[in-house]
């Protein structure tokens, strides 16, 4: 399972850069420039991505045609909501580098910084 992480990323990159749905064969063709992958490997991983909810699929003839369920931007926005959500019951514990300051705190920070920089230039 761990080895698929890179391939999952590569496949999603391909899917997001396309305007239209893709079959396993289409994705394999686009990946061919980067590294040679077996058809069955790509098929397995796309199946995994489907099960995890990243891709939806419909049958076209004998093959599945896949497309992303959500755009990259929309998912990033969702992740940001999770990160910035300060509710006590938030599911994940993040250590943000910094938290947002109120206007008064911003002013105090700016003043303190100005004093430091003035001190250094002397």
């Amino acid at each position: 399972m761990r080895g698929f992480g890179e391939l999952e990323s590569a496949i999603m990159d391909v899917m997001w850069s396309r305007a239209e749905p893709a079959t396993v064969r289409d994705v394999l063709d686009e990946l061919r420039g980067q590294r040679d992958r077996a058809y069955t490997t790509v098929m397995t991983v796309m199946g995994i991505l489907h099960n995890k909810g990243w891709l939806r699929r419909e049958r076209v003839g004998r093959a599945w045609r896949y497309e992303p369920t959500i755009t990259r931007e929309a998912y990033v926005a969702r992740l940001m909501r999770d990160v910035l959500d300060d509710s006590v019951d938030a599911e994940t514990v993040f250590t943000h580098f910094v938290e947002q300051a109120s206007p008064e705190e911003s002013q105090a920070l700016r003043a303190a910084l100005r004093r430091l920089l003035e001190g250094e230039s002397r």
Binding site: M12, V76, L79, M80, T95, F97, Q100, A101, A112, L116
Partner: protein
């Protein structure tokens, strides 16, 4: 029984009194020691209560057992005597069952919360790697998310990952960015996320205890200072504090909800005016004393428990 009451009282005292007590001490001057003190007091209070419940359960079970053995020879006991004896047995059995139930319920809640936290963290980490771009020049552990929000954080679901946004890359100079990444790496190296996650789990399971409520926030604050110290060691105080200001001051991302900047201000002040060695030494002495007292208490508890267990078994 008196031991159990003493333990419960001690636990309650620590749980209610510690937050106020520690807030009056300059914990920020020795953040690592401060973290140790908070963790030790939480552990000490929880241990005391668990021990109190354990003693009550054990004594109840022993009373029932003893009553059984003494009543075997009680063929001449009066009807009323036997009835009240049975009631007492029932009561002690109920108490024992209640004690076991409380401990089991608590263990379940903790396990459940821990699982959910871990799962959510893993999911977020996987999603970040899928949705973000790798940035080899920033490090193999760094992922960049393409958004204007200025956010930098670290994750540890599986692979240790540092996440920065495009907004951060645009707002900081190279030195400032290096300081931020060093700060996040210090968190990962110190396994701070494990400690915070444990405290978060406890807070969810024991919402009504003041100590546990305060511990997660305060320890979080102190761990930020620990990471600040590590990053400032390498990249200097100026890079770090200017990065802090650059990322916290300015247009708020639309989604930021009421996050307090007070912690940022105290971190910036601390970086701009670091405590003198004398102040640090004093703070270390004070906190060291508190740590010793808080740490010795569980030792004394177990010592007295062992003594009372021996007397029960032998007596």
């Amino acid at each position: 029984m008196t031991l159990a009451v003493c333990l419960a009282f001690y636990g309650a005292l620590v749980a209610v009194g510690t937050p106020g007590f520690l807030r009056r001490h300059p914990v920020e001057r020795a953040p690592r020691l401060g973290v140790a003190v908070w963790v030790t007091t939480v552990a000490s209070a929880l241990l005391a209560w668990t021990a109190a419940i354990g003693i009550i359960v054990a004594e109840a079970l022993m009373t029932v057992e003893r009553a059984d053995t003494t009543c075997d020879g009680c063929l001449l006991g009066t009807g009323a005597g036997r009835l009240s004896g049975n009631l007492l047995d029932l009561l002690t059995a109920v108490v024992a069952a209640a004690g076991i139930a409380v401990l089991a319920w608590f263990a379940c809640r903790v396990g459940h919360a821990a699982c959910r936290l871990r799962q959510a963290g893993r999911q977020h980490a996987r999603a970040v790697r899928l949705v973000g771009y790798s940035a080899p020049r920033l490090g193999t552990d760094t992922v960049v998310l393409d958004t204007a929000d200025r956010v930098a954080y670290c994750l540890s679901g599986g692979r240790r990952t540092i996440v920065v946004t495009a907004g951060v890359l645009r707002s900081l100079t190279r030195d400032q960015l290096a300081a931020v990444l060093a700060h996040e790496r210090a968190h990962l190296a110190g396994r701070h996320h494990l400690l915070l996650a444990s405290l978060a789990v406890l807070r969810r399971s024991l919402r009504w205890v003041p100590l546990v409520r305060a511990a997660e926030a305060e320890v979080g604050r102190l761990l930020e200072m620990c990471a600040d110290d590590a990053a400032a060691c390498r990249y200097g105080h100026t890079s770090l504090v200017t990065a802090l200001v650059a990322l916290s001051v300015g247009p708020l991302p639309e989604l930021a909800l009421g996050a307090s900047g007070a912690a940022t201000l105290s971190r910036a002040r601390r970086l701009l005016a670091p405590p003198s060695p004398a102040e640090q030494a004093t703070a270390r002495r004070q906190l060291g004393t508190v740590l010793l007292v808080a740490g010795l208490a569980p030792v004394m508890v177990f010592g007295s428990m062992a003594l009372s267990a021996c007397s029960v078994i032998l007596g």
